[in-house]
């Protein structure tokens, strides 16, 4: 399967008449956008705001972040099974609007959502301080239940990203990158001397605010399966996950998964990238056993020599991570796990809730318990009414001067477990 990904780089976003791209500027017709996303029976008071890199703006509570994309050639539409039909995507040509993100914000329940600061110390921790954000806030109509509210807000964001993507359908991209994955036999013949590497992609799947969808299917109801990486670039995996802000994968990160990007970068040079195995993080031990048995079985079935496993979230998913690692290693396949840590504010405590000697190659994306002081911002999109009670916040988080002291956990994408972000470690 082969996908040409055309990247259109945007340098500014402005409101104006008729939504279009003019040079490197995205012009958004506020009314058109509201028309494209409106009409949901559960939501009202829908608002659109812009937030640009470097501005003194705080967005909270953040639900999802989505990159506008559009299918130009090939089967299906972006976000299959969620907006479009369930055609298999991942081939042909797709255009991606770079440096722009749709951010959905608003309270779903009274805790659990994230912060994006567009400037100041918090901006270093969130990758979404570098994008021009089109922020959509909406409130539930009276009596709407949290499940319906979450689903409506999720769909609103996807619709907005798909609508904005239309603006670059006929724009000549600034850069075109080609990603191709062959069937395992052909791939093995092509690079017989290179190690065969696969990616085990763990998806958070536990219930309300903890879900992920694959072609529209609630991933907690799947057994692990194999996907072409390019399907994911076309929006086959969508986030319904609102917890926890620092280490959940917003839809933006599914579309731009850096493990997939880097494996393609090395494909044919140092390794032979054979594909993605998606798996879930369910609540019961039996589900965890079944899913990890299946990931290990699929790794063996694909004839892999090496595997990278990424986690989403923390807590009982640490058990899924370790089970995956141990069982894949027991098949004789070298395994690297990618995670983050909850090691206390001083970083001295145990990092994961589970462990195994076979987990001997681990990449961490930081300690989510570390605290940070976020100074007050001139403009607020959303509300700070929930800052004390969001994950990573604590009593007294919101100070009188408007500054906030929180754990990194409260910042969207701060310790993302696919490594998406701008932070790295330096040894000295």
């Amino acid at each position: 399967m082969k996908l040409e990904l055309g990247k259109v780089f945007i340098e500014d976003v402005q409101f104006g008449g008729k939504t279009h791209v003019d040079g490197h500027v995205l012009v958004v017709d506020h009314r058109e956008l509201l028309e494209a996303i409106g009409g949901d029976e559960h939501l009202w008071k829908i608002r659109v705001d812009l937030a640009h890199p470097g501005e003194s703006v705080r967005i909270t509570p953040v639900k999802d972040v989505i990159e506008p994309r559009v299918k130009v050639k090939g089967h299906g539409e972006i976000f299959p099974g969620m907006l479009g039909k369930v055609h298999t995507v991942g081939n042909g040509r797709t255009h991606a609007m770079k440096n722009v993100a749709v951010v959905t914000a608003g309270k779903v329940v009274g805790f659990q959502e994230g912060i994006i600061d567009m400037s100041g110390p918090g901006a270093d921790y969130t990758p979404f301080s570098k994008t021009h954000n089109i922020v959509i806030t909406a409130e539930p109509k009276p009596g709407v239940k949290p499940h319906d509210h979450e689903a409506a807000l999720r769909t609103l964001g996807l619709k907005a990203a798909a609508f904005l993507g239309q603006a670059i359908k006929n724009v000549e991209p600034d850069e075109i990158k080609v990603y191709e994955t062959m069937a395992p036999r052909e791939a093995a013949e092509l690079y017989p001397d290179l190690p065969r590497v696969g990616y085990v992609y763990m998806l958070q799947t536990q219930g309300l605010l903890h879900d992920t969808y694959v072609y529209g299917v609630d991933a907690k109801k799947l057994v692990p399966t194999v996907m072409y990486p390019t399907e994911i670039m076309d929006g086959a995996i969508v986030s319904g996950n609102c917890v926890s802000a620092c280490d959940k994968n917003p839809t933006y990160i599914h579309l731009n998964n850096p493990v997939i990007e880097d494996l393609y970068e090395e494909h044919g040079k140092t390794l032979n990238f054979l594909g993605v195995i998606i798996t879930n993080e369910n609540v019961t031990l039996a589900d965890k056993e079944r899913s990890s048995n299946w990931t290990a079985k699929l790794c063996e079935f694909m004839g892999l020599d090496g595997v990278i496993v990424t986690q989403e979230g923390f807590g009982n998913p640490d058990t899924d991570l370790i089970m995956n690692c141990r069982k894949i290693e027991e098949k004789g396949i070298k395994t690297v796990i990618v995670t983050d840590e909850y090691a206390g504010r001083d970083g001295a405590s145990q990092s994961l809730a589970d462990a195994d000697p076979k987990a001997n190659a681990v990449v961490t994306n930081g300690n989510a318990n570390e605290t940070i002081i976020l100074p007050d911002m001139n403009r607020l999109i959303g509300t700070t009414a929930y800052v004390d009670s969001i994950a990573g916040g604590f009593a007294g988080s919101l100070r009188e001067d408007g500054s906030i002291e929180v754990e990194l956990q409260a910042i969207t994408g701060a310790t993302n477990e696919t490594g998406f972000g701008h932070l790295s470690a330096v040894a000295y």
Partner: protein, 130 residues
């Protein structure tokens, strides 16, 4: 059997006639009760830790265990020991698990709802296996 300190789970189960062990106490008290049951030969069905919610971020916890007690289930015991090791690492010098936040009255039903929602599919399975 469902072990919980969550009133919303209790209400839900009383309607559905499930096997319930009510704990009048904290998150940790629920896990201690689970450990006692595991020592008696019950095995855990749902993982004792919540997904992406730290033990000090919610007052509520619900865990599903087997109805029947059999021989000591080592995997259940090992899982619980790891959970307690983690829980202890979050405790203060006084040996107590301190919540860093004051829960607002408005938030409590939301925290109860999340705990209930995460355990609902497991309780359905548990009912089937009765």
């Amino acid at each position: 059997m469902v072990i919980t300190n969550n009133p919303m789970v209790k209400n839900h189960l009383e309607k559905n006639h499930n096997n319930l062990l009510w704990v009048e106490g904290s998150y940790e008290d629920v896990l201690l009760e689970v450990r006692n049951k595991v020592h008696l030969g019950h095995h855990i069905i749902s993982h004792p830790l919540a997904g992406s919610i730290k033990p000090y971020e919610t007052p509520y916890r619900t865990v599903v265990i087997s109805d029947k007690a059999e021989a000591l289930h080592m995997q259940s015991l090992e899982t619980l020991e790891q959970v307690f090791a983690l829980l202890n690492s979050f405790k203060g010098k006084d040996g107590k698990l301190h919540s860093l936040r004051t829960y607002r009255e408005d938030d409590l039903p939301d925290l109860q709802l999340i705990d209930l929602d995460l355990i609902k599919p497991v309780m359905c399975k548990s009912e089937e296996s009765l």
